[in-house]
């Protein structure tokens, strides 16, 4: 990451009605060439942040910088930021070529320059033969690519994307994720991507900012976000997650001893607790839980009752009742040496201290 960020949000706040802050004190640096995703449930403030960056919403408070230039008062048309809109916003009364030419004509670029840029942009998204089609004559994936090409036709260094893949079916969406990722890598642009789809965010991003309630809950790489969530919201929002509630009894060297009713003492990694005596929520990923471990191999063991088995091919999704929580999920790999469990049986489960994170309730 270079020293000078491409985009900087400095103490930015946004309120629509003067009563509720939809964005509360946002501080965020986005490095040049980075792919940053704003991820969060709807109403979490992520789209508002993107719109403030694009210039369609004004920040109630604080400053937004683009390459160290304060852009709060710059009109959207003068910001020099590319954008891919939700549902693409391709102009339906213009052909693909006219759509791409629009920003060039507005800037009074020469005809030859316009044509070469359109050709280059269409080549980039592999739609060379479609210049004279209308957007509605294209499939969803093709429209998506045209929208990307239009956002990039001016060689902007920063491109914003507002849930660009939301309207595509699952297979196409996955394919487009890789394509956008590759375009980003090839051009070295800075991308700010908004989505509520966590798989999309994990696949594409260098860093992910998880939004909730107008605040960035965690800003880190996809791996950190999944492996080391810092609070219970992130743990539950990203991936699947088993919850056990208990009270901290002792704490040393970053490990808490947590008393869980019905399961005894569990040793967990201290992340975000309120100290000894406080309640905590233990978060364990389903794939980190082992069934019938060899005794002594894992720090934490407890018994659970099998409630439901769902066969999913590569693994068997096992729903168990553990310490009063009957939504405790264990992913049992489908290997032959695993003895088959049966519904109603009791089984021992175990997990390591590292796999169990003590978070806020």
């Amino acid at each position: 990451m270079s020293a000078q960020p491409a985009i900087r949000f400095d103490k930015v706040q946004k309120s629509y009605d003067g009563e509720v802050l939809v964005v509360k004190d946002l501080n965020l640096d986005i490095a040049k060439g980075e792919f940053l995703t704003m991820l969060g449930p709807s109403g979490s403030g992520k789209t508002t942040c993107l719109m403030m960056l694009a210039g369609f919403e004004t920040a109630t408070n604080g400053d937004i910088f683009l390459n160290d230039r304060r852009i709060n008062d710059v009109a959207p048309s003068k910001r020099g930021i590319g954008m891919v809109f939700q549902n693409y916003a391709l102009f339906p009364h213009m052909t693909v070529a006219e759509n791409l030419a629009f920003p060039l004509e507005v800037r009074k670029m020469s005809k030859s320059e316009t044509e070469s840029r359109i050709k280059r942009a269409l080549d980039m998204v592999e739609l060379s033969g479609f210049a004279s089609r209308r957007p509605l004559q294209l499939s969803g994936g093709q429209q998506q690519r045209v929208a990307v090409a239009r956002a990039l036709v001016l060689d902007h260094e920063v491109v914003l994307m507002d849930e660009p893949l939301g309207a595509l079916d699952k297979q196409l969406r996955e394919q487009m994720q890789y394509e956008i990722k590759h375009i980003h890598e090839n051009l070295g642009i800075t991308a700010v991507y908004v989505t509520h789809d966590q798989a999309e965010a994990l696949t594409m991003s260098d860093r992910i900012a998880v939004f909730d309630d107008g605040v960035i809950q965690q800003l880190s790489s996809p791996e950190d976000l999944y492996e080391r969530p810092e609070n219970s919201f992130v743990a539950q929002f990203i991936g699947e997650n088993n919850k056990l509630v208990g009270t901290v009894k002792a704490e040393s060297n970053g490990v808490s001893d947590v008393e869980v009713p019905g399961a005894g003492t569990v040793r967990a990694k201290t992340v975000n607790t309120q100290g000894i005596g406080g309640d905590t929520l233990l978060s364990i990923r389903p794939e980190r839980v082992h069934i019938n471990p060899e005794s002594g191999a894992l720090e934490n063991t407890m018994t659970g009752k099998v409630e439901e088995l769902i066969y999913l091919g590569d693994h068997i999704r096992t729903r168990m009742s553990v310490a009063g929580n009957d939504e405790f999920i264990v992913k049992v790999p489908n290997t032959q040496r695993q003895s088959m469990l049966k519904v109603g049986e009791s089984a021992t489960i175990g997990f390591q201290t590292e796999a169990c994170r003590a978070l806020d309730v």
Binding site: A54, P76, S77, F85, F91, P92, F102, P103, V106
Partner: protein
């Protein structure tokens, strides 16, 4: 695989019939049902629309009435060279025709004859009464004695243009032309020329009203389409409320507003903007027709434009601005072209309704606010010249169809969205 699905074997139903026939039979039943459902609206359309329009077409060229009343006269009319009074044979034929026909028919025919040459009606009325006392000829002498107009050659000459069972005379009349007795076309005498001016005025009023409606409706529709639901509902009610109010009530309200001592004039005088003796004449003239028609037709413009604007995502404007266009340019290049289907529908709708408008000009138009629709009504109700009324109706219809065709060529009818 069973034998039934082998390629050469026809598919059969379980009770041994050909599947193809069985399918067709069951489909036929549902087709008949569908036909039955549309037959009532179809019949309705034929009875209340297609037949009257056809009737109108026939009426506008039909001129058979005189032939029915004067068959003997017209049978030998061609024998006359038209330079001096016809001979005894023609007078005899005329006498027999007039005494032989039914009184009602003669009355109708004489009215029709009067359109071509005035005084025919009074001549025939008088003659029909007096001819009853005449028993024998020579008819020429007796008839001229009864009324000396029978000795006027121009009456005999005017019969020439009435001889054909069909005529385009009504169409000529509708544009201030007429047939001479020798079937050549000339302009109406100066004091009878009004229709060309009326057509012109009708077109002008329709154009002005359409343009005014467009100017007024566009921003209102935009507000309707973009305001939060709470406010847009209220605004929509404001748009629709006049639409739901009786036309007469609205016109009377305008009368109260616009008359010499009306609200508008009073307010202007009261505020010193106008001298008391210079009160504006906004009623019973061209201005009054324009103002009231614009207000009445405004919803026809707002609704189609609104329905199109509502479907335009605000993202288009954002995208255009993001791509470097100023808000004004984005509006011109992106938003306006997208509203064309609604604007087209609104313009066509308002123009078509305006061009045939009748009640408003009748009530607030005064003398120089009358339109062609008022003349049609006059000929239908008062002068009973249905042929002329029909011809003008057909011309209006043709004008609208031409307009529609032009629109289709320029914008495309598929592009039109009524709502």
């Amino acid at each position: 695989m069973s034998d039934a699905t082998a390629p050469n074997q026809p598919l059969m139903t379980s009770d041994g019939r050909l599947l193809k026939d069985a399918l067709q039979q069951s489909l036929r039943r549902s087709k008949l049902k569908a036909l039955g459902l549309i037959s009532i609206p179809f019949l309705f359309l034929v009875i209340v629309f297609a037949m009257p329009v056809f009737n109108l077409l026939v009426k506008s060229v039909d001129d058979n009435l005189i032939n029915e009343v004067l068959p003997r006269t017209f049978a030998i009319y061609e024998d006359w060279d038209g330079t001096e009074l016809p001979g005894e044979a023609h007078y005899e034929a005329m006498f027999l025709d007039l005494t032989g026909a039914e009184g009602i028919q003669i009355g109708k025919a004489s009215t029709r004859m009067n359109y071509d040459k005035s005084k025919w009606k009074s001549l025939i009325k008088k003659s029909a009464r007096k001819f009853k006392n005449i028993e024998s000829g020579p008819y020429k002498e007796v008839m001229i004695k009864t009324d000396k107009k029978w000795g006027d050659i121009t009456f005999w000459q005017s019969l020439g243009s009435m001889k054909d069972p069909y005529t385009f005379g009504y169409y000529l009349n509708a544009v201030d032309l007429r047939y001479n007795h020798d079937k050549s076309v000339t302009a109406q005498p100066e004091n009878r020329r009004i229709y060309k001016m009326l057509w012109g005025r009708t077109l002008l009023v329709s154009l002005i009203v359409t343009v005014l409606c467009l100017i007024l409706a566009y921003p209102v529709s935009h507000l309707l389409a973009t305001l939060p639901l709470r406010y847009s509902n209220l605004l929509m009610i404001c748009v629709l409320m006049p639409f739901w109010t009786s036309l007469l009530v609205r016109i009377v309200a305008w009368m109260i507003m616009l008359q010499q001592n009306g609200v508008v004039n009073d307010a202007l005088v009261h505020n010193g903007l106008l001298d008391d003796e210079n009160r504006l004449a906004m009623m019973y003239n061209f201005t009054g027709t324009i103002i009231v028609m614009t207000q009445i037709l405004l919803p026809f413009m707002i609704l189609p434009i609104y329905s199109v604007m509502r479907t335009i995502s605000p993202n288009y404007m954002k995208a255009a601005q993001n791509l470097g266009a100023s808000p004004a340019l984005a509006f011109l290049k992106v938003y306006m072209p997208l509203t064309v289907p609604g604007v087209g529908a609104g313009v066509i709708l308002v123009f078509i309704v305006a061009i045939g408008y009748y009640i408003t000009p009748e009530l607030v138009g005064g003398k120089d606010g009358q339109l062609i629709g008022n003349q049609i009504a006059y000929h239908l109700k008062s002068s009973l010249n249905w042929g002329l009324a029909s011809a003008m109706g057909v011309m209006l219809l043709a004008g609208i169809l031409i307009l529609y065709w032009c629109y289709d060529k320029i914008v495309g009818i598929d592009n039109m969205r009524m709502g």
